[in-house]
C-alpha cells in the first residue's frame, strides 16, 4: 500500500489513496463516526474545557521544569528497583533495547503499542539482529503481518477492510478462507498471540505517562496486552520520550479523564496500569529517549507540540487525514500532529506535510492539551519557505499571487479575466493539471465581482 517512489509527497500518496472513491468515503465516515463519539463523551463532562486548560497548564509547567522532573523521576524509578537508560536518538534507543534482549539471550519477544518504537523503527532493527518481535495489539499485529507501518496512532489498521484481514489471517494464521467475521478473527488472533505471551521472556511496552514524584510509568490499553506481556515476562522494557513526564499521581486524574474520551469516546481504557516496582526476580528497564525533543524545547513556536498525549483526536477530525489516509504522511506519526512533529526531525524530507492541511483549526479545537496545531502548521510553512524547502511550483505561484494582491488594478483585471475564462472556456481550469479539480467539480463563476456589484447597487458611490 505504501508507494516507494522518491521523493515521497503527501499530495502524490494521497492521490493514489483517492483512486478508490468508495473506499475513501468509507475511511472518511468511519473516522468521522469516532470523532462524533468523542464529542458525545466530551459533552457529558460539563467541566471539559476546564480539564483541557488544566492539562495544558500542567504540561507547560512540565516543559519549563523538565530537567528537574526528569532527574526526580530517574531517582524515584531507581529507588523502586528499575534500571534507567538515556538515549540521545533512535539509534541509541534501539541499541539499548537490543543489548537488554541479548543479555537475557531472548530471541522471541512481545511488544505492546508504542509510537516511540515506531518513531525509532525498532522492529526493523531488531529483526535485522535476529530478534523476532511480535506486536500484540490486534491492529498492530495486522499491519505487522502485512508488513506495513500503522496508519493511525490509536487505530493502526483503520484503513483495512475485514475481508482483507480475513485473507491476511488465512495466509498467516491458517483461518478458513473467506471468513471475515470480526469476532471470529479476533478469537483466532487471541489464540495465536496467547502462545506468544506464554513463551516470551522479554516484554516491551510504550508509556502513556511517567510520574516524576513516584518513578512509576502508566500504560493504557483496551486489550490487556501490555499487562499480560509484562506479567508473564522476566524482563519489562518501557520505552518513552522524555516529554511523557507528569509531576504527580493526582495529575493522572486530569489526563486519564481526557485521554480516552478524546481518543475513542470511551470513558476510560479498559486497563490503566501503574508499573512502579517490578515483581520479585523481574527486571524493569526504562529507556528515556530524546530524539530531537530537547532541541524543540528551545522553540517558542514549536515547543507546545511536546504536550501531545497521542490521543489521535486531531486525526479523526482532520478533513485531510480522513480523505488521504495515514500512509500518505510517510512518517511514523501521521495526521495533524505528525505534520508539526515530522519537519522538526527532517525539514527537507517532510517539507510537504505542513501543507497537508486546510488550516481549518478543527485539530486545535479537539486537542485535549490545547496544542495550537493549526498555528504551528502555518508557522512551519513559513519556516520551510524561509529555508528554501518549499516545492518550486508553489514558490512561483506565491510570487505571482504576491504581485497581484499588492496591485489593485491587476487584482481587478485578474478577477474579471478569471470569471470569463471559467464561463467561456471551463476546460482551462476543469482539467487534470489543476489539483483542485481532482475529486471535485469547479463552482460556477459568479457573473460579477463584489466590487462591480457594490458599484452598481450603490450608484457608483464608494
Amino acid at each position: 500500500m505504501r508507494k516507494t517512489e522518491t521523493p515521497l509527497s503527501h499530495a502524490s500518496l494521497a492521490e493514489s489513496f483517492n483512486k478508490d472513491e468508495q473506499r475513501v468515503n468509507w475511511h472518511d465516515q468511519t473516522l468521522w463516526f469516532i470523532r462524533e463519539k468523542r464529542d458525545k463523551a466530551a459533552w457529558q463532562i460539563p467541566e471539559w474545557e476546564q480539564l483541557r486548560e488544566v492539562a495544558s497548564t500542567i504540561k507547560s509547567n512540565v516543559l519549563a521544569n523538565l530537567h528537574e522532573y526528569l532527574t526526580a523521576f530517574e531517582k524515584a524509578a531507581i529507588n523502586n528497583g528499575a534500571v534507567v537508560h538515556w538515549a540521545e536518538n533512535a539509534e541509541e534507543h534501539n541499541k539499548i533495547v537490543l543489548s537488554i534482549i541479548q543479555k537475557h539471550k531472548a530471541s522471541n519477544i512481545v511488544k505492546s503499542k508504542s509510537m516511540l518504537t515506531e518513531e525509532c523503527h525498532l522492529n526493523a532493527f531488531l529483526a535485522k539482529n535476529g530478534v523476532d518481535v511480535v506486536d500484540t495489539d490486534l491492529g498492530e499485529r495486522i499491519v505487522q503481518l502485512a508488513n506495513e507501518p500503522p496508519s493511525h496512532i490509536v487505530l493502526p489498521c483503520i484503513h483495512w477492510k475485514k475481508e482483507e484481514i480475513g485473507e491476511l489471517f488465512h495466509q498467516h494464521l491458517g483461518t478458513p478462507k473467506g471468513n471475515a467475521d470480526p469476532q471470529f478473527l479476533t478469537g483466532a488472533a487471541r489464540k495465536h498471540l496467547r502462545t506468544k505471551f506464554l513463551s516470551s521472556s522479554v516484554a516491551i511496552t510504550g508509556v502513556n505517562f511517567a510520574v516524576s514524584e513516584t518513578g512509576e510509568v502508566v500504560v493504557c490499553t483496551n486489550e490487556g496486552n501490555a499487562d499480560l506481556g509484562v506479567q508473564l515476562a522476566d524482563v519489562h522494557i518501557a520505552c518513552m520520550g522524555i516529554e511523557k513526564i507528569i509531576p504527580k499521581r493526582r495529575d493522572l486524574g486530569v489526563f486519564l479523564r481526557l485521554l480516552t474520551r478524546s481518543a475513542t469516546g470511551q470513558p476510560i481504557t479498559t486497563y490503566s496500569s501503574h508499573f512502579k516496582t517490578p515483581r520479585k526476580g523481574q527486571e524493569m528497564h526504562i529507556v528515556l529517549v530524546d530524539n530531537g525533543r530537547s532541541q524543540r524545547l528551545a522553540s517558542d513556536d514549536f515547543r507546545n507540540a511536546l504536550k501531545c498525549i497521542r490521543c489521535g483526536a486531531c486525526f479523526n477530525t482532520c478533513p485531510v487525514y480522513r480523505r488521504s489516509g495515514g500512509h500518505s504522511y510517510h512518517t511514523a506519526v501521521a495526521g495533524p500532529i505528525g505534520s508539526i512533529l515530522s519537519p522538526g526531525w527532517d525539514i527537507k524530507k517532510y517539507s510537504d506535510l505542513p501543507s497537508a492541511s486546510t488550516l481549518c483549526g478543527s485539530c486545535s479545537n479537539v486537542c485535549p492539551v490545547k496544542i495550537d496545531i493549526h498555528d504551528q502548521l502555518y508557522k512551519w510553512r513559513q519556516e520551510i519557505t524561509k529555508k528554501g524547502n518549499s516545492p518550486k511550483q508553489k514558490t512561483i505561484l506565491m510570487n505571482i499571487m504576491n504581485l497581484i494582491l499588492s496591485h489593485p488594478v491587476l487584482f481587478n483585471l485578474a478577477g474579471s479575466f478569471g470569471r470569463k475564462v471559467m464561463k467561456w472556456a471551463p476546460s482551462v481550469v476543469n482539467n487534470r493539471i489543476n489539483p483542485w479539480y481532482k475529486q471535485r467539480e469547479m463552482p460556477e463563476p459568479p457573473p460579477q465581482s463584489f466590487t462591480e456589484w457594490y458599484k452598481k447597487n450603490n450608484n457608483g458611490k464608494p
Partner: protein, 200 residues
Amino acid sequence: MESRKNILDRIKQNQPHQNFVQANYFIHPILISNLVEKFKATLTAIGASVFEIATLEELNHFTINSFPNCDDVLTYIPGHVELERKSNGHAYQNIKVAILKGDLAVAENGAIWITDKNMLDRALPFICENLVLVVDQNDIVQTLHDAYSTIEIAEYKYGTFIAGPSKTADIEQSLVLGAHGPKTLTVLIQKSDLIRTDHD
C-alpha cells in the same frame, strides 16, 4: 552516561525560563447523586455485568449459578479466602474464573482500582478467562479525581484500573469482547461490610 549528561544539559539550557509554577487546580465536577446507580449504568455500558450481594454465601451462590460445572474457579480475598501463590503467572493459564477484591471504584467511568496485594499473582486478572471483582459499596467514588486523592498516598508496587472486559474494535470498528484478557467482567457490589479487607 554521556548521553544522560548531554540530554540533561541541553534540556536545562533549552527549557523556557518563564517561571511556570506547578498547576494548583481544583476541578468541580457535577456531583453524581446516586453513586451506585451511576456506577452500575456505566459498567453496563462498557460491557460488564453487575450484581449486588450481601453475604459471602451469596458470593458462593453466584459462582455456582453463573459458572456451573466449572472447576477452575479461584477466589482470593485477603482476610477471607487466602491462597498460596503459585510459582509464576503461567501457572494460572487455565483458570476459568478468578474472583478478586477491588480497592476502589469510580462511578463516572466504571473503573475498579486493584493493586498487586489483592491480585494473588499480577498476571491473574489478565490471564483468567472470566474476571469477577468484588467492590464494597462504600468504596465507590464519583470521579477519577476522588480516586486519586486516595491513590496518591497509597502504597503499591503495581496497580491498575480495570473498566470492563478486555476488548478491541480494531477490525472495522466492530466491538469484540475478550481481546487478550478476560472475556467477561462481572462486578459484585457488596452491600454490607461482610467482606472487608485490611485496606479499610
